[in-house]
């Protein structure tokens, strides 16, 4: 199911929409839509592309109710303005339309931001799944990604580097003298914030998530004992795979995921962490974005 979500590259836009667009297929209900329903083709924080069975009048402002297919988001309603609408090919019952959201309240704006964060996390999950399949998801990769991304002194290898790829063969001219060593240059001045992998050997006993208060309690069973972890200010709770009866092999934790950075950009004052419980082989089971976890009463 997750394969339906993929980050869409920027393309010629007919609508002035900011934020990343995500290919996502969700049902949309509205009494203002032909047949009272539509399906999203892509979605961003500022707008949506819809497929409907009829043409939408430009300038109209239907009230759209989005039905989310997973538990991490509640369905929500927001008004949107139709900025373009056209028939797809010769099919008289297939129309694509672009709409920009018109959030009227802070709550609607918050819902749109949250939706964007969740969709981004899903995209990351897809990427990670692919990487896991390629057996490339390991702590080293997680460490090097933020390192390269945030290290201003990083330089690509010199042209005559052994790391360079491409056609090989004897050079037609003598090679230039090797450049001076750059080891000192590429070493970051301060260590990057690394991710932490905490080995576990437990199963999921259960969880309690209070969406309104943003609190999450997770019970982990180790032999006959149950240990409870509390995740305060929980911004995201997503069960990626059925986790009951699955052996949890570890908990990955990082301060620097795209989701935590996004929360920082949105002006959230707390230092959030992105947690992921993983099964054997690094397969993601549960994603959590919250303030640092702590033990809860056992």
């Amino acid at each position: 199911m997750l394969s339906r979500f993929r980050n869409k590259e920027k393309k010629a836009q007919l609508v002035d929409r900011d934020g990343e667009r995500y290919d996502v297929s969700l049902r949309v209900l509205s009494r203002d839509l032909p047949g009272y329903r539509g399906v999203t083709l892509d979605l961003s924080r500022s707008g949506v592309q819809l497929e409907t069975h009829g043409h939408l009048e430009l300038g109209t402002e239907p009230e759209l109710t989005f039905e989310f297919d997973r538990g991490e988001l509640e369905s929500f309603t927001c008004r949107a303005k139709v900025v373009w609408s056209r028939q797809q090919g010769t099919n008289e019952r297939k129309f694509h339309s672009g709409l920009t959201f018109l959030p009227a309240t802070d709550d609607e704006r918050r819902q749109l931001s949250r939706m964007s964060t969740v969709l981004q996390t899903r995209t990351e999950t897809d990427l990670k799944t692919l990487l896991e399949q390629a057996r490339r998801l390991d702590p080293e990769l997680e460490r090097s990604y933020p390192n390269f991304a945030s290290n201003p002194t990083f330089r690509p290898p010199p042209e005559n580097s052994l790391l360079q790829t491409g056609p090989s063969g004897p050079p037609s001219t003598p090679p230039p003298p090797p450049p001076p060593p750059k080891e000192r240059q590429i070493r970051p001045e301060t260590p990057p914030r690394l991710g932490v992998f905490i080995p576990l050997s437990v199963t999921l006993e259960g969880y309690t998530w209070n969406r309104a208060s943003g609190t999450l309690h997770i019970g982990l069973r180790e032999d006959q004992a149950v240990h409870n972890l509390f995740f305060p200010e929980c911004q995201l709770f997503q069960v990626l795979e059925p986790a009951a009866d699955t052996k949890i092999e570890g908990l990955y934790s990082t301060l620097t995921s795209p989701a935590t950075r996004k929360l920082q950009l949105m002006g959230e004052p707390s230092a959030y962490k992105h947690y992921r419980f993983v099964a054997e082989g690094g397969k993601g089971l549960i994603d959590i974005v919250s303030a640092p976890c702590r033990p809860s009463a056992e």
């Binding site: 260590p191 690394l194 932490v196 905490i198 080995p199 301060l255 976890c293 702590r294 056992e298």
Partner: protein, 126 residues
């Protein structure tokens, strides 16, 4: 948490961070030691999460010899630190310096030190 236990936990994390590289073997050894010290699984998870996210701001060696008045407790604490050292199969100069400083301050004999080293090596194999 008692002062002595708090100090020992702090020293254990110093040891893990001594060379700025936290290896999976060190994390596994640390997890096992923290459980032996009586921390619950949830407490261990939170301690690791908090203290392994970033290097410690204060790296001054913990005065374990002052926190543990009893000679046996001092040796026991030192053995746990050595267990972290031996978990990777090689000891870095930073870890060696930390241990040597403690050995000197505790006034351990060469024989006592060798006994601790052997015990720690056995412990790191478990």
């Amino acid at each position: 948490m008692a002062n002595s236990t708090h100090g020992l936990v702090q020293a254990l994390f110093h040891m893990v961070w001594a060379d700025d590289i936290v290896s999976p073997e060190e994390v596994t050894a640390l997890t096992s030691i923290l459980r032996q010290l009586g921390f619950s699984l949830a407490e261990v998870v939170c301690l690791l999460d908090k203290n392994l996210s970033e290097p410690p701001a204060d790296r001054d060696p913990v005065r374990l010899e002052e926190l543990f008045p009893s000679r046996e407790d001092q040796k026991r604490a030192l053995q746990l630190l050595m267990t972290i050292c031996f978990s990777t199969g090689s000891i870095g100069p930073e870890q060696m310096g930390y241990i040597e400083g403690l050995v000197l301050r505790m006034g351990l004999s060469a024989q006592e030190r060798e006994g601790l080293r052997r015990a720690a090596m056995e412990g790191s194999k478990c």
